[in-house]
């Protein structure tokens, strides 16, 4: 066994003095202006948007068929015109109003359902059963029924939006609650918190990353359902929304206006995602170190 006889060589001890900082110039240095600008996410995204818009413009010009694919500039023109003079702005506002009503109602329903689910075992079973039953069901498939139940108006659209928001938000919130660390749960109970205060002051903040994801998904689902519902049954409550605007303009072959309608949905989506949700994130989960 040679391994046993191998002895590491004797080495002298080493003691060194660290070099003074002045000897090697830079220890810390601020980033250059261009580096700092590129560190801003909004700037990078804006650059991407410009690239996409230029690509759109070039492709549409080369195609040269405004009936099939209008250019970016024509779309923007129709958008600005619709917003300032036409009825696009009114239609968009109608849609947003209905959307917010349905979204808020959906969130309230989801909150009730998940609180019941987290506090009792049978509630958990109920939530799991209901989500597996109704989550795959497209909201738009409920529209005919909703029309019979709530009539040809806002009520039925709000109903289908609630359906599309409720399950996505509940599922995410519930899985967020389940993922809260056992230590934090014990801390909350150590404080003597029980019932609703416990959910509100411990579980909801701790599960906030998942809840936020649920809210974002719910928001997107709500938009899809709303536009689809408006396309399907057009005018409701007098004025009609964006979906109806798109449908109407398609019938009149005002294709740039159709694109402007879609463009509006995109713009609102971008604003909500990058301003509302981003701010909410920055003020909560990022500040708390729950998300990077």
């Amino acid at each position: 066994m040679s391994a046993a006889t191998v002895v590491p060589p004797h080495r002298p001890e080493i003691v060194r003095e660290p070099v003074a900082a002045g000897a090697f110039g830079i220890v810390q240095k601020p980033l250059s202006a261009s580096e700092r600008i590129l560190n801003i996410g909004a700037v990078r995204k804006l650059a991407l948007i410009v690239v996409l818009a230029v690509a759109w413009e070039l492709y549409a010009r080369q195609l040269h068929n405004p009936l099939l694919f209008p250019t970016f500039s024509a779309t923007v023109q129709a958008f600005v015109h619709g917003m300032l003079g036409g009825d696009l702005f009114v239609k968009a506002m109608t849609s947003v109003k209905v959307l917010l009503k349905g979204y808020a109602a959906g969130i309230v329903c989801a909150a009730v359902l998940t609180v019941v689910a987290i506090s009792t075992r049978i509630g958990t079973d109920l939530l799991e059963l209901l989500t597996s039953m109704f989550n795959p069901l497209p909201a738009i498939a409920l529209l005919p029924l909703a029309l019979i139940w709530f009539g040809l108006g806002e009520g039925s659209i709000v109903f289908v939006i609630i359906h599309s928001v409720l399950w996505a938000v509940s599922l995410n919130t519930h899985s967020g609650f389940l993922a809260v660390s056992n230590t934090l749960r014990m801390v909350g109970r150590n404080y003597g918190l029980r019932g609703l205060p416990y959910v509100a002051r411990i579980l909801i903040p701790a599960a906030f990353p998942s809840i936020l994801t649920g809210l974002k998904i719910g928001w997107a689902f709500a938009w899809r359902t709303l536009i689809a519902a408006e396309l399907v049954f057009g005018v409701s409550s007098g004025s009609g929304g964006l979906g109806w605007y798109i449908y109407e303009n398609k019938n009149q072959l005002e294709i740039p206006s159709v694109f402007a309608g879609l463009f509006t949905v995109i713009v609102i989506g971008l604003i909500v995602e990058n301003v509302v949700f981003r701010t909410l994130e920055a003020r909560t989960v990022r500040k708390w170190g729950l998300q990077n």
């Binding site: 230590t183 934090l184 150590n190």
Partner: protein, 266 residues
């Protein structure tokens, strides 16, 4: 039992058997454990892993009910978790990430309308100063190091001025140097306020350093092996070494034999 307050145990654990269920079996964690903690004690639960010391602490915390025997705090049976038994956990994630250091310490003071904001803030800052974290009062927990987080947890526990402070291996996840410093800080804090603490550890040196009274538990299931007096802080190394050896012998002497019978002649 005499009528004098100091002579009556603050925490009386008598004949406590604890069981918990895992997915496929029922585990007996402790069997008929008795001990009394008196006001001002630094009472240590010491034993190898599997002796149910953490489970015992959780039972005192009110997180689980004994199947036999009872736990009384100031004469009342412990039934559920409550702020009169503040816990300091081993994990660093015990602070609420959505609150600053000061808010974390204030939270239990404020919740349930126990204290007005001003009063709670004053008290929180007082205890944060005691653990030398005044500079970080407005920082969020994710910006602190592990040792600092544990100090916040200790400040939070002490600010509540609980009947008894429960510490579940609070320094186990720290590096050796920080752990040593935290032990000294805990002793200094105790010198200042003389609170009662029930402290779980599996480290014999830590038990001797931190504790005034040590309960030795044997494993599978946890049973009381001995209850010893520890040494005063600053006792000389020879005495500490002797006590360490004695405890080591009591805890591990008979455990070694059945576990590794073929190494007996080694």
């Amino acid at each position: 039992m005499t009528s004098s307050d100091a002579a009556r145990p603050l925490l009386a654990v008598s004949g406590v058997t604890l069981q918990y269920k895992t997915r496929d079996r029922l585990v007996t964690a402790t069997y008929r454990v008795d001990f009394d903690v008196y006001p001002g004690d630094r009472f240590i639960l010491l034993g190898p892993s599997g002796c149910g010391k953490s489970t015992l602490l959780k039972a005192v915390g009110g997180y689980l009910q004994p199947v036999e025997g009872e736990i009384r705090l100031k004469g009342d049976v412990v039934r559920r978790p409550g702020p009169d038994r503040m816990m300091v956990f081993q994990e660093f994630d015990q602070l609420l990430p959505w609150r600053t250091v000061k808010e974390n310490v204030m939270f239990p003071l404020r919740s349930g309308g126990r204290m007005a904001r001003r009063e709670a803030e004053e008290k929180a800052l007082h205890y944060i100063a005691k653990v030398n974290l005044t500079r970080f009062a407005d920082s969020y927990p994710h910006t602190l190091s592990g040792g600092m987080k544990q100090r916040v947890a200790i400040a939070r526990g002490m600010a509540m001025e609980p009947a008894i402070l429960l510490m579940d291996e609070p320094f186990a996840a720290l590096d050796a140097l920080t752990r040593r410093r935290m032990q000294d800080e805990l002793l200094a804090l105790w010198e200042g306020t003389r609170f009662t603490v029930l402290f779980v550890t599996h480290s014999i040196p830590e038990a001797i350093r931190v504790g005034s009274r040590i309960l030795l538990l044997s494993p599978h299931p946890g049973q009381v092996k001995a209850e010893l007096d520890s040494l005063a802080p600053g006792a000389d190394g020879v005495a500490v070494g002797a006590l360490e050896k004695r405890i080591h012998a009591m805890l591990f002497a008979d455990a070694v034999e059945p576990a590794t019978p073929h190494e007996e002649h080694g």
